[in-house]
Symmetry: C2
Subunit: 434 residues, 2 copies
Amino acid sequence: MAVQTAESTTESVAGSAAPSVDLGPAAALSCRECGHRVPLGPVFACQECFGPLEIAYDFSDHDTEELRRRIEAGPANIWRYAPLLPVPADVATKPNINPGWTKLVQADNLARELGVTGGLYVKDDSGNPTHSFKDRVVAQALEAARAFGFTTLSCSSTGNLAGAVGAAAARAGLRSCVFIPHDLEQGKVVMAAVYGGELVGIEGNYDDVNRFCSELIGDPAGEGWGFVNVNLRPYYAEGSKTLAYEICEQLGWRLPDQLVVPIASGSQLTKIDKGLRELIELGLVEDRPYKIFGAQAEGCSPVSAAYKAGHDVVRPQKPKTIAKSLAIGNPADGPYVLDIARRTGGAVEDVTDEQIVEAIRLLARTEGIFAETAGGVTVGVTKKLIENGDLDPALTTVVLNTGDGLKTLDAVADTGLTATIRPNLDSFREAGLA
Amino acid sequence: MAVQTAESTTESVAGSAAPSVDLGPAAALSCRECGHRVPLGPVFACQECFGPLEIAYDFSDHDTEELRRRIEAGPANIWRYAPLLPVPADVATKPNINPGWTKLVQADNLARELGVTGGLYVKDDSGNPTHSFKDRVVAQALEAARAFGFTTLSCSSTGNLAGAVGAAAARAGLRSCVFIPHDLEQGKVVMAAVYGGELVGIEGNYDDVNRFCSELIGDPAGEGWGFVNVNLRPYYAEGSKTLAYEICEQLGWRLPDQLVVPIASGSQLTKIDKGLRELIELGLVEDRPYKIFGAQAEGCSPVSAAYKAGHDVVRPQKPKTIAKSLAIGNPADGPYVLDIARRTGGAVEDVTDEQIVEAIRLLARTEGIFAETAGGVTVGVTKKLIENGDLDPALTTVVLNTGDGLKTLDAVADTGLTATIRPNLDSFREAGLA
């Protein structure tokens, strides 16, 4: 299977595997397709079959209760799970922006509106340092970059990832260089540029940016460059596991019955599943069934379309939706998402841009959480899944909000004043506000 | 002394003191000027001398180590300090947005740039639910509103406060009604309106809005309305104490030597001082000297001007600065701020808009923290105080960032691409990026 990640179409560069890399429990890279193992290094595609490489761990010789105690005594960020991540044991002492341990909000008001009786929670990742879940994955890539001796942290991006990379590199004292299409909106440019790294506009569209990044990785000019979501992707992707860990720990070391997860490349959903299975294997949660539901915007719904058609492969789409952080038309992990949704008894569903906006408003009005469009997608899909009968309202359900409404203000730009009055009580009364 | 709060010029309404209000350790309201005590109620000005009322506590009969254990075992938000706040003991079980326990970032990179050797920390309140410290104060006002049976949470605002009130009320299931000047920028309107409460534009300027709110409080139409920063102000203001508590606990139950705090109304700075003194009195930290420094923008520097002139009173100014969240020309607590700065051996200083922007960039570049203009003020003032010799770089220093850069993007709007290239390696090399 060819590796087609959303942000790169390159194949593996010759992996200069570092011989004595300390990335904690990470033992090797293992091909998801053929199982071929290679030493830890800045490579992402299997040399045998071009399948995606992921981290293989050595969790042997662990004591479950000792591990639980260690986690609970850890810091209030993702590094409480350092024993389960591809990072050195002393990671928490290194300068980084320490994402994670975001709120799991018990959403009783939203539950009432949606008719959920079994407990509804919103995992709110807008509380991360740069206000999106990307801080989790970039933090892992940063540790890998340090381990491999990279001096520049890089990525292609059109939004959340640029800020996460810029902030992480600034604090870590690494150079950063982020590539974006040259004609991005000024607001997004500012958010990416403020951390003081290189911000390079590419004359071309997002595909051109990605093609260029792939070329750079294979060139001597790219030596010492860690592209978080390309040559560091196996490490980067593991950051999403921390969402699964936190949700279970915050529920009192218990698996939720149902999770609703957004799909961009599909990586987050597959790694949340991986995280849940690890917790079961390690004995940290009781093994019982859970269902994972994938959420897409109708304007970019290749996985949802494949799910509904009963296909195993995903046909690429040209994205056209306000949910730009999910707008990956050719999601690399699409087939794995389909497999997980079907295996766990979940589903994949999509909602229109109108429903996304409605869901943003619903979440804000009921729980005081102002979500990015991606959060509108998951909340909207949750509503639809309940109406369809796919999601059981009597079961404990966790919905992910992966970003912050301040970054996608345009989506609700028509929200305005409910009244305009003159500064006196008569005008106040006339407006019916008393 | 007449009460002149920034957001209201009204005098106390007849305080309908609730007889059996449970607000935890809050015992009464006490006049800061004459010490006159009245029962807990929705009043804010002394009936004897018009001085500001603040909460008087009954902390007798406490066991220091038991209290410390209770706090440390508490939730990762402000409610870990419930025994020290005007809130019922079961506050953490009620629906609210649970602000606080934000990161205290050890800012070694910034310290190096500023020449601080004694330890420099940034208390980063952009991590609060609506991304400003206002969530802390609104959370207290919400509990008071519940205790007094109010059904509408209200305020006048031009920014951060509107979002904090809207979000808190939404989650608590209260009605909210926020008053703003009718011609605010669209972005700010959206941020305030998204939570679904009433958002009323007043035809007039911010002073007109405040005058109207005062009128409404005194009118039967305002019955059942809790204005967080007017008739609930004594409760509201206590929220700032939690910044002091968190800083000390996060330093290992230790007072910092120096704090740099922004000044708007001056309430935050005075309550941080109150919080530090309480920790000393309760035996939770060792009693040793600390210095509090106040930070203003030059374009709105009435307290700084009074400090430098050696005055005890503050002459109002007409604000003109990009630091809009600090732009209170007639700060109610100005005299108290002057007193605290002088008593503790601190100072009050101000910086230009240019220095504010430079400081925002400095903090982002060194620590990956994107601060609001108010954060630019405190970081810029810290730099200036060190250069002046007022702040000792060999002592432990904590600088407050009270808001999020995403809310004041305009301040750094000229931040842009460092290069634009064609999507090929030659163009990359030509730009000197290799």
